[in-house]
């Protein structure tokens, strides 16, 4: 589980690192972004930033290196690289480290609460007549998110606006259904990437969609990426259950609010409402269990897996049943429970759609019933191993193009050639007794050249050991 969270964190950082320098300068004019960026850094980098925050002049790089003990110097250097990539702290020409002035100033503002940027969200002044509370927001968020997933899977639900559909298509989770003769371009079908997406953890899903949205915004929607990012980081610092006014938001940010409303990140009673409520999904974007490496809360598991390959899922949600039906053969459905069997055919169908065994196992583990969590390992080993074996069955053969050398006149020539080819791993298979050598395509050129040189040296015209091109199927280990 923590792997996926770590990948989320990494993916946000990678995305940020792809941005050009000027963008960073614009980003760092908002203190909320500075705060969020600080929290994304590794621990050593955070300390370095904090120490340099109140220095006026550039610091010698050697001094900074001396801050760490010898054995942790490599961590320090990695942190410095990261800081340079995020454009927080850069190296000037003369071996000095300079902290980004804009970042510094706005970080001061963040710590002290100064400035006029209203970047931490202005709470709404007046009392809301239709005030909502936190359980309502949670319900709203989960309903909206489930509706999106339903739309992805293709179960008939109410229509979603174009924005949602566009985003799903753009992120490769759905594709246009060219087969049907319907001209309505809202007819879409789920792709294999979409299947994999379904099995991911909620936090990872939200962030992957957001990153896609960012790319979409940049390329197609012509929105200012800086404002979008600022808005996202600002939202991460808002408080759950508090309504905020939309006055300080720019137009771009209001558009983002509109779009992301359909994903369950915000609640706005009407389109023209002057206030909005962030839901739990929004406030835990840059904090909470999204980025921390702690266990997500348990208690909503519902799957029981038995050693006889039976699955009992205590759920009524059609979405979860639909996800399960991807790789489980459902046998019976009751009012609050679904009974299914993990079969070879079911799993092979899923594998054919592009889902990996690991994703299936992670999904089952993540949604395991609390009773299952009490035993260790959570899932029965027989079932886990069998799923992996079914996956490996598909990889029985591995094909690679190669060249075969045979008919060597004597053992010396064979040995020479094989000893030459061995060091750079060109040999795929060899048989000393029969004096046959199978060499990779890349290695073939070098081996051929070597052989020519040897022949020229010996002066023997065109003798044994000729190569033949073949695609040889090799049994995979």
């Amino acid at each position: 589980m923590s792997d996926s969270l770590a990948t989320v964190k990494n993916s946000i950082q990678e995305y940020l690192e792809t941005l050009p320098k000027q963008t960073f300068d614009k980003l760092y004019t908002q203190p909320a972004t500075c705060l969020a960026a600080l929290r994304l850094l590794p621990p050593v980098a955070k300390q370095i930033v904090m120490r340099l925050l109140y220095t006026q002049r550039p610091v010698l790089k050697a001094d900074v290196e001396a801050w760490c003990f010898q054995e942790h110097r490599s961590d320090l250097r990695d942190s410095l690289k990261k800081l340079a990539k995020m454009n927080i702290c850069t190296e000037t020409g003369s071996e000095h480290l300079q902290i980004n002035r804009i970042f510094q100033e706005n970080m001061h503002n963040a710590l002290v609460g100064g400035g006029t940027h209203a970047s931490f969200g202005k709470p709404a002044d007046t009392q809301d007549k239709y005030e909502v509370d936190i359980p309502f927001l949670d319900r709203y968020a989960s309903e909206a998110w489930e509706a999106v997933l339903h739309y992805l899977v293709g179960t008939p639900t109410e229509k979603r606006p174009k924005a949602v559909g566009r985003l799903l298509v753009a992120s490769g989770l759905q594709e246009q259904d060219g087969r049907s003769g319907v001209t309505d371009d809202e007819r879409t079908m789920i792709t294999s990437k979409g299947f994999q997406f379904l099995l991911l953890d909620v936090n990872v899903q939200v962030w992957s969609l957001l990153l896609q949205y960012l790319e979409l915004a940049e390329r197609q929607l012509q929105m200012d990426i800086v404002e979008v990012l600022n808005f996202l980081f600002q939202v991460g610092s808002l408080e759950l259950g508090q309504s905020y006014s939309i006055d300080p938001l720019t137009d771009t940010q209001k558009m983002v609010l509109e779009d992301l409303k359909w994903f369950g990140l915000f609640y706005q009673r009407k389109k023209k409402s002057s206030r909005f409520y962030p839901t739990r999904m929004a406030t835990s974007l840059t904090s909470g269990s999204m980025i921390a490496a702690r266990k997500p809360e348990e208690g909503h598991g519902y799957i029981i897996v038995e050693t006889n390959y039976r699955i009992y899922a205590y759920t009524e949600s059609p979405l979860q049943i639909a996800i399960l039906s991807l790789f489980v053969s459902l046998q019976a459905r009751f009012q609050n429970m679904v009974v299914g069997l993990i079969t070879r055919d079911g799993v092979r169908d899923a594998l054919a759609k592009g889902i990996t065994a690991d994703q299936i196992i992670t999904y089952l583990t993540a949604h395991a019933h609390p009773e299952m969590r009490k035993q260790s390992p959570i899932l029965p080993e027989t079932v886990v191993d069998q799923i992996r074996l079914w996956e490996m069955e598909r990889n029985r053969l591995r094909v690679s193009r190669a060249y075969m050398y045979n008919d060597f006149p004597d053992i010396q020539e064979y040995k020479q050639l094989s000893d030459y080819a061995e060091p750079f791993g060109a040999i795929l298979w060899k048989n000393d007794k029969k004096r046959i050598l199978v060499v990779t395509e890349e290695g073939h050129e070098q081996v051929k050249a070597f052989k020519k040189r040897k022949q020229a040296a010996k002066g023997i015209p065109g003798s044994g050991g000729h190569g033949r091109a073949q695609a040889s199927p090799l049994p995979s280990r």
């Binding site: 929290r39 050593v44 904090m50 710590l111 209203a118 508090q242 702690r294």
Partner: protein, 288 residues
């Protein structure tokens, strides 16, 4: 790694002894302004909270006759919870809450204790440390099984209180048992903040950092540099160490430091010379 998985708790104990601060403010060489010190301390606290969303904090004021929790604030029934809409949009909510709570409670504390009888030149250090320890224990139990890394930062300017020796040592041993480090930031001037005996021992025994700050203008830099790293980071970053702490004892009768002393087997008080009766517990000494 342990740094990513454990929660960090910082407990700040502020010495609010008005007499000591008043003396410090009038010092000729390097006057200390409590207001400035408090400002920089609040920024430091915000920096601690900024590092990770799940960093915990508790602030305790060590006054002349009581210790008080500044944050989290102890709301009595008559207080209203702070109005959420009063928060300006320029401040991160958590920073705002902490700053407001600390300043308000501190103001109340200082305006309450006005009569001269209340005010002596002492500070309830042992009391504040005890409160900090029990709070740390509560947070540790609440977060079980996630490990908790706790540290206590003391900003001190008052002299040591010999009557609180036993209580202070108990707090230090309790901290040692749990792994809490005690850091001390002591303000030293010509007429205030003389050499403390208990505080360097506390730092040495618990693995913390003892620093004497000559002037308050650069306090923030010292705080960010030396006291911000959490215990895991201390093994990565090199921080200044105090060399030798004198663990020799002072005899109870003359308060002079002794190398070889005589210890009463009943009450463990230390004396510099032999006598027939223990002055502390009045036991007669018989036999060798």
């Amino acid at each position: 790694m342990t740094s990513e998985e454990s929660i960090n708790l910082l407990a700040v104990v502020i010495d609010t002894n008005p007499i000591a601060w008043a003396t410090a403010a009038q010092d000729s060489r390097c006057p200390l302004d409590f207001g400035r010190v408090l400002e920089q301390l609040l920024i430091f606290i915000n920096a601690h909270l900024a590092l990770r969303f799940d960093n915990e904090l508790v602030v305790i004021a060590s006054h002349t006759n009581q210790s008080l929790f500044l944050y989290p604030p102890q709301l009595s029934d008559t207080d209203q919870p702070p109005d959420a809409s009063s928060k300006p949009a320029n401040t991160y909510k958590q920073f705002f809450d902490v700053n407001q709570a600390v300043i308000k409670t501190l103001k109340d504390l200082i305006t309450e204790s006005k009569s001269p009888e209340d005010v002596d030149d002492k500070s309830m250090l042992a009391g504040s440390l005890s409160l900090a320890q029990t709070y740390i224990n509560r947070i540790r139990r609440a977060n079980d099984p996630t490990p908790l890394q706790s540290r206590i930062l003391i900003l001190s300017v008052s002299p040591d209180l010999p009557s609180q020796y036993v209580a202070t040592m108990n707090c230090i041993f309790a901290a040692q048992r749990v792994g809490t480090r005690i850091d001390v930031c002591r303000f030293r001037g010509k007429h205030y903040g003389e050499e403390s005996v208990f505080l360097p021992q506390a730092c040495h025994l618990t693995g913390g950092l003892y620093m004497e700050i000559p002037e308050a203008e650069n306090l923030l830099q010292y705080l960010l540099y030396a006291f911000l790293p959490d215990p895991y980071m201390r093994s990565v970053l090199c921080l200044p160490e105090k060399d030798q702490v004198d663990f020799r004892a002072a005899c109870f009768c003359h308060k002079t430091v002794v190398d070889v002393g005589y210890v009463c087997s009943v009450c463990l008080s230390i004396f510099c010379s032999v006598s027939k009766q223990c002055p502390t517990c009045q036991t007669q000494f018989g036999g060798q």
